[in-house]
Symmetry: C2
DNA sequence: ATAGATATGATATATTATATCATATATTAT
DNA sequence: ATAATATATGATATAATATATCATATCTAT
């Protein structure tokens, strides 16, 4: 049973739909946990949702549409910490950058494919990978808690080799 | 065909053997590429070899046994960049730290198991993981170049659950 | 309305990493 | 051996990323 959404968002997809859906999910996630979806958190998430590409904290700061005073870095980091804590964004460790989550649900075995040219990131489920990690961990007597799986390379758009057209039911 | 060395070095293993062997391999690797194994590079590698645990660049700097003036950060980073470039050390992205390599040979599918308590790191081959990544990449039309696979959790010593004694031939 | 909890504002500073240019050292060709 | 070339280091400065702290504001439940 393959996932129907393509790993890398199509060049011409309706991105507003992504944004709206994500903001709605965020709203719901906060409500669900009785957490506040404040203006700051909203603003930071919205900035991260502008593209399927990770932004550094200071990049977010620069793009922040501040009404009064320019916000301090801490303000951004606080929002990022919060959003990450409830699974709405991911930190891409290999880039010190933050990415809006595009896969509601569990993120235990999530794999990130990061294009080194256009910086787009695909967020994949990696079930097989998870199995492999669990096997390795078991063999080592290791108890896994969190994991970072980030693959850097070239996305279909940037290699000129588009992804095979699978699952055309 | 399982690897005979345990994933996490045993509490009582003869560590001097590790160090000596690694320094010898480093020497050979440099010779092989006509690169210079200078005092700085030697010193940085040696510090990283003091334990199977990653050190931050500034941690290395602090422990650096400087004869004259305290070296500048750049000096450490230069050595680290060099050592990493020829595969003698690894960068642990999730910790901004550097680890002496304990597995001569290819590092394409290397998996790091990082203990969040004692900070020991096991460096594993992850063949199955590599296959999983390649599959995911192919399905996505992604061309993988480099990858970061880091699992954080508790090592056998720290869970109290020692690794099963496998391959006792 | 008040008390308690949580988020923000403001300031300062810690941590990690790189840029630059002059000097020194090693390697190669002569 | 010596000069020419390449490579590494020394020294200084600064960039980029992230956290600590404490006062104030805002929300939530009673």
């Amino acid at each position: 049973m393959a996932d129907s959404t393509p790993p890398f968002p199509h060049r011409l997809h309706d991105h507003q739909v992504c944004i709206d859906a994500s903001m709605d999910r965020a709203e719901a996630a906060c409500l669900d946990r009785s957490e506040r979806f404040t203006e700051n958190r909203r603003a930071v998430l919205k900035l991260l949702l502008t593209g399927h590409r990770p932004l550094g904290a200071y990049e977010i700061l620069e793009r922040f549409d501040w009404k009064k005073r320019r916000p301090a870095p801490a303000q951004i980091y606080r929002a990022l910490a919060f959003l990450e804590s409830i699974g709405l964004i991911h930190r891409i460790a290999s880039r010190n950058a933050y990415l809006a989550c595009s896969r509601p649900g569990s993120h235990l075995g999530t794999v990130f494919l990061v294009c080194e040219q256009c910086e787009m990131v695909a967020e994949l489920e990696g079930t097989q990978m998870q199995t492999a990690i669990n096997t390795l961990a078991e063999q080592s007597g290791f108890e896994p808690h969190t994991q970072v799986i980030e693959v850097t390379g070239l996305c279909p758009e940037c290699t000129g080799t588009p992804a095979p057209d699978r699952a055309e039911t």
